[in-house]
């Protein structure tokens, strides 16, 4: 038994002919193609649904083969559904929240990684621990805090929440990255007369660009796709971001699935653009922790 298993790898290695490799590739495709199809099926389903008419869906059900083609869903979503306005609100929340949280996180990470701040380990762990708390248990306290600050039902509140909740994780990731930058670089700069601010702006930040890009892409998707905080601190319809507006399209009595599907497609476009633009950084950014 043992002899047989020991000899097999050797014989396999010699038998690695092109034909064998080709067959293996064929098996790979045969397995992966259906899996891929399964993976994209929901998206295709939504896309098809978006172009069907309401009467068609009501008559034949959502899963039926489409028997109509119309842009009515998109028209309603952008018209009475006000997806355009909601998209603009989402951008107004996402852009400042991402920029501000990355800026603050990079300051914090810079200080924690380059200077002997007392208790920096505890600070860092506390920041990370805060991230482990499920946001659901903080919904009511946070909405009360916003209320007492007088910013309940404003976009400022939403930006502040996203900055606050993102900060811990971003600082942790940036801290890890900044620590991997050799200290000789900053020491050399210091010998040349650069102050802390100059070192931060001219040495550290340019070197952190890949991790900042990855975090930026991550933060954008998280904040853009957030629903729970939006519906917790906002109550004016005209201030609802795209996710909450999407939820509003779904009525208690009727669900115009074609409108909901069309609006979902519209809502997915910005995050898709950000993702594709930063795709390279995204993947390398996710690997950041593993190589260290």
């Amino acid at each position: 038994m043992t002899a047989a298993t020991l000899t097999r790898p050797a014989s396999e290695q010699t038998a690695e002919t092109p034909a064998n490799r080709k067959r293996r590739r064929w098996v790979f495709h045969a397995v992966m193609a259906p899996l891929t199809l399964l993976w994209v099926a929901p998206m295709i389903f939504v896309l098809v649904l978006a172009f069907r008419s309401f009467d068609d869906i009501a008559q034949n059900g959502t899963a039926a083969w489409p028997s109509s083609f119309t842009f009515q869903g998109f028209k309603t979503a952008l018209g009475t559904g006000a997806m355009g306005r909601a998209l603009w609100i989402s951008i107004q929340v996402t852009v400042p929240a991402v920029l501000l949280s990355l800026l603050l996180a990079s300051w914090a990470a810079y200080a924690l990684s380059r200077y002997a701040v007392p208790g920096r380990r505890i600070i860092l762990l506390t920041m990370l621990a805060g991230n482990l708390l499920p946001p659901q248990i903080l919904l009511i306290p946070v909405s009360r805090v916003m209320e007492s600050l007088g910013i309940y039902d404003t976009l400022v509140a939403l930006v502040a929440i996203h900055v606050g909740f993102g900060l811990g994780f971003y600082t942790f990731v940036l801290h890890g990255f900044m620590r991997s930058i050799p200290s000789e670089l900053t020491e050399a700069a210091r010998i040349d007369g650069a102050g802390p601010v100059q070192i931060y702006a001219r040495i550290i930040m340019p070197l952190c660009r890949p991790s900042l890009a990855a975090l930026g892409a991550l933060a954008t998707t998280w904040i853009f796709n957030d629903l729970i905080w939006a519906i917790t601190v906002l109550r004016t319809e005209a201030k609802l971001p795209v996710t909450a507006a999407l939820l509003n399209l779904q009525g208690g009595y009727v669900s115009n699935w074609n409108v909901v599907a069309a609006a979902s497609v519209v809502a997915a476009i910005p995050t898709a653009i950000v993702f594709f633009a930063f795709q390279r950084h995204f993947v390398s950014g996710l690997l950041m922790g593993s190589t260290k």
Binding site: Q92, Y152, T154, G195, A238, L249, G252, V254
Partner: protein, 425 residues
């Protein structure tokens, strides 16, 4: 050297402060154009997120010119969850849509609702409403609710389908079971019921069977915690429910109530006990073919009762503009507003004001009015006659029951235990 760390910190702090102030400031100026004028503008928080009712309410509010009104429509499930927060906040919306009955009384007992008794007296807009509606809107001797429309429940079916299958509208329980048998023999599911994401639909049959067997008074007391769910009366209800289980489309277990309308439309299911709002989920050409009948009588000695859930508005006790809020309520309750809303929302809802001319309403709605006028008692619906918490216990129990009707006794004991917890709170 000693000044370096100080100046660095000072510089960083200054920079940070500037940055935050600048960015937050930019946001604030970008978004506070509506909140700045909130004190003089009335806010109407609406849960009517369905397309047609939303458009209708927007139109009705546009017709109100005395005060500026901001209409906020929030998806119903979000609204339900956020309602306590809305009412409890420092600057609450002035007027809100919601349901009459126990749910409104519950909020009134916490002191959240504005006393609108003056709208119900003298020449107030609600003075002409029926005594039953007044009683429904009263908590601790004060009126806290303004009902504007209500709807009926019935067993909906397609006229052409019944003709095809050669069945007649049943009026008694035995006839009803016979109809179910006939429809089933044609290979069609007799009863459609979407209890997947909307498990409360299962309470419809429970409510009606209880109303038909034990009567409205017992039903109200049961939901108020005065009778046990594992008593002989509820067991009798469940015995009848059990006879239905084999006729209920099993696929409905994974449908929402809306999805379960589709089999009815395509004649793959025969009947559906649901509210009149079903008409909004039926394609335009199917509405004329749609009809309904009263849930069959089981015990003729029990006075006929029907469910007629009532919708309307209440105002927040903390409203900054009480006279404005009352004025808006009065406008919304006026006959012409009611009529405009019902017609534009294309719903099959009925007006609460007796001055609304209903002769132009569709034959289906006329039939609904007649159904309710012929009833001896009116109930709301399980959750509206009790609370959302008790509804959850019903959802759990009835979902289990539909899966395993044989375990009915065990399920009822569990239900009673859960209900006790709700009432014990």
């Amino acid at each position: 050297m000693t000044t370096a760390p100080l100046s660095r910190r000072g510089f960083l702090a200054g920079l940070g402060g500037l940055g935050v102030a600048g960015i937050l400031g930019a946001c604030a100026t970008g978004s506070d154009d509506t909140s700045g004028t909130a004190s003089s503008t009335l806010t109407l928080q609406s849960s009517l997120s369905d397309a047609d009712p939303k458009a209708a309410l927007t139109k009705v509010v546009e017709g109100y010119t005395k005060n500026k009104v901001t209409l906020n429509t929030i998806a119903i499930e979000t609204f339900r969850a956020q309602l306590p927060t809305y009412l409890n906040s420092g600057n609450p919306p002035d007027v809100l849509t919601w349901y009459a009955g126990s749910v409104a009384r519950d909020y009134a007992s916490k002191g959240f609702l504005l006393d609108v008794s003056d709208l119900w007296t003298g020449s107030g807009p609600c003075a002409g409403f029926s005594p039953a509606l007044k009683e429904l809107s009263t908590a601790d001797g004060k009126q806290i609710f303004v009902p504007t429309n209500y709807y009926w429940w019935g067993v909906f079916y397609r006229k052409s389908a019944f003709q095809e299958w050669g069945v007649q509208v049943p009026t008694t329980w035995d006839e009803f079971i016979q109809v179910c048998k006939t429809i089933k023999s044609k290979g069609v599911a007799p009863i459609s019921m979407g209890t997947g994401s909307t498990p409360w639909v299962a309470s419809g049959w429970f409510d009606y069977l209880d109303l038909r067997i034990n009567g409205a008074e017992f039903h109200r007391d049961l939901l108020a915690g005065k009778h046990p769910f594992d008593g002989p009366e509820v067991k009798a209800v469940m015995d009848h429910y059990r006879q239905l289980v084999e006729y209920i489309d099993p696929k409905g277990r994974s449908y929402s109530w809306q999805d379960a309308v589709t089999p009815l439309n395509s004649k793959k299911a025969g009947m559906y006990l649901i509210g009149a709002f079903i008409t909004s989920a039926v394609p335009a050409d199917g509405v004329d073919d749609l009809d309904f009948f009263r849930v069959p009588i089981i015990d003729p000695s029990v006075p006929v009762a029907e469910e007629a859930p009532t919708d309307g508005y209440f105002a927040s006790a903390k409203s900054k503009n009480v006279s404005g809020a009352k004025d808006l309520l009065a406008y919304l309750a006026a006959p012409q507003s009611q009529q405009q809303f019902i017609q534009l929302s294309k719903s099959s809802n009925l007006p609460t004001s007796q001055q609304v001319d209903t002769s132009t309403f569709s034959p289906l709605v006329q039939k609904g009015i007649k159904l309710l006028n012929d009833s001896k008692a009116i109930t709301q619906f399980f959750n509206r006659d009790s609370s959302d918490e008790l509804q959850t216990t019903a959802d759990t129990a009835l979902t289990k029951f539909l899966d395993r009707p044989g375990d009915v006794n065990k399920i009822l004991t569990e239900w009673q235990a859960n209900a006790k917890k709700v009432f014990g709170q």
